[in-house]
């Protein structure tokens, strides 16, 4: 009689996945950037034409700050 061998069923324990939570570093805007942002918001209301004229330059300046 042939001996049937059964493969042992090895239950695999679920591997605990190591979840690495990347720490989100919150950076605050510099005072100069805050001042410029406030100025831009004011200019949008006071003088939309002047804001439109300088929109691209403001973006460059904000990226540098």
């Amino acid at each position: 009689m042939a001996v049937k061998t059964k493969k042992a069923v090895v239950s695999k324990k679920p591997v605990k996945a190591k979840v690495v939570v990347a720490a989100k570093v919150l950076t605050e805007d510099s005072p100069a950037k805050k001042e410029l942002l406030a100025f831009i918001e004011n200019l949008k209301v006071e003088n939309p034409t002047a804001y439109q004229k300088n929109a691209i330059n403001f973006e460059k300046q904000l990226n540098q700050l």
């Binding site: 100025f39 004011n42 200019l43 006071e46 003088n47 034409t49 002047a50 004229k53 300088n54 330059n57």
Partner: protein
């Protein structure tokens, strides 16, 4: 009595490039009508009657510039110098300089003409002819240009400008080599102010975007109103010897709507 040494003063430009009104008016109304549409047809003898509109454009005096100090009697009496005269004169200059800065930044913020210089701006001599040619193209062809053209730069720009003047042409270059900065080039009157004049901030009630900018345009198409110019008062005050000296001025400025294209806001690349 001897006078104190004067502090270093900037040259004032606004009065040379703008119309100045010193009457007692709070507002100056300057409305404009709409453009006409000329009908061009074959010989018909008939035409359409069009509508037209009038739009208000007003200069309003909105800002006040003031300066006040107190000279005690013992200070005036026991000093070898005329302190009172010095403070009044100093205050008057300071207000005039502040008004000048206000007007320059105001007109460049509200001018609708724009131009960005090649990289290096006016400090690169090779850029000068390119910049001047491009600026001229912004205003030439308009009938107002007979009034004269102006360009206001900061002193740091002069390094490139003077080098360009010294190496362009023959008699022009000789004149620059002999005399330094030539204040008329390519039909444009060149004015120089000190670095830091063009700013991006709120001056009084006006937000201006002038830092990294210069201004070019036609003279006399902007107006600033300074009712009664700069006024001063000396007054006795309670509980103090001597006199309080106060100097003040009122300002309104306007780039007239129909002329805004004649003021070019130059951005230094």
């Amino acid at each position: 009595m001897a006078t104190l040494q004067q502090i270093l003063r900037n040259s004032l430009v606004a009065e040379k490039i703008c119309e100045v009104d010193r009457t007692d008016n709070m507002t100056i109304k300057n409305p404009y009508g709409s453009a006409c549409t000329t009908q061009i047809t074959s010989l018909t003898g008939t035409y359409q009657v069009d509508d037209f509109s009038v739009t208000a454009d007003t200069l309003t005096v909105t800002d006040e510039f003031k300066n006040a100090e107190h000279v005690y009697d013992f200070q005036e009496l026991l000093s070898y110098y005329d302190l009172f005269a010095n403070r009044i004169e100093q205050q008057s200059y300071d207000i005039a300089a502040s008004i000048d800065q206000y007007v320059l930044n105001f007109i460049l913020t509200d001018g609708t003409g724009t131009y960005t210089t090649p990289t290096g701006g006016f400090t690169t001599a090779a850029n000068i002819n390119v910049i001047l040619a491009n600026l001229l193209s912004k205003t030439v062809g308009y009938s107002d240009t007979y009034k004269g053209l102006f360009l206001v730069l900061e002193n740091t720009d002069i390094t490139g400008l003077v080098q360009a003047q010294m190496t362009n042409g023959y008699s022009f270059a000789d004149a620059a080599l002999n005399n330094g900065l030539l204040t008329h080039q390519a039909g444009i009157d060149i004015y120089v102010v000190r670095t830091g004049t063009f700013v991006t901030e709120t001056i009084g009630t006006k937000s201006v975007v002038g830092s990294g900018h210069r201004v070019f345009g036609v003279k006399g198409v902007c107006t600033y109103a300074a009712p009664r110019g700069i006024q001063m008062e000396e007054k006795s005050v309670s509980a103090k010897t001597g006199k309080e000296c106060v100097t003040w001025g009122y300002i309104g400025c306007k780039v007239w709507a129909q002329k805004a294209a004649l003021i070019v806001d130059i951005t230094i690349a």
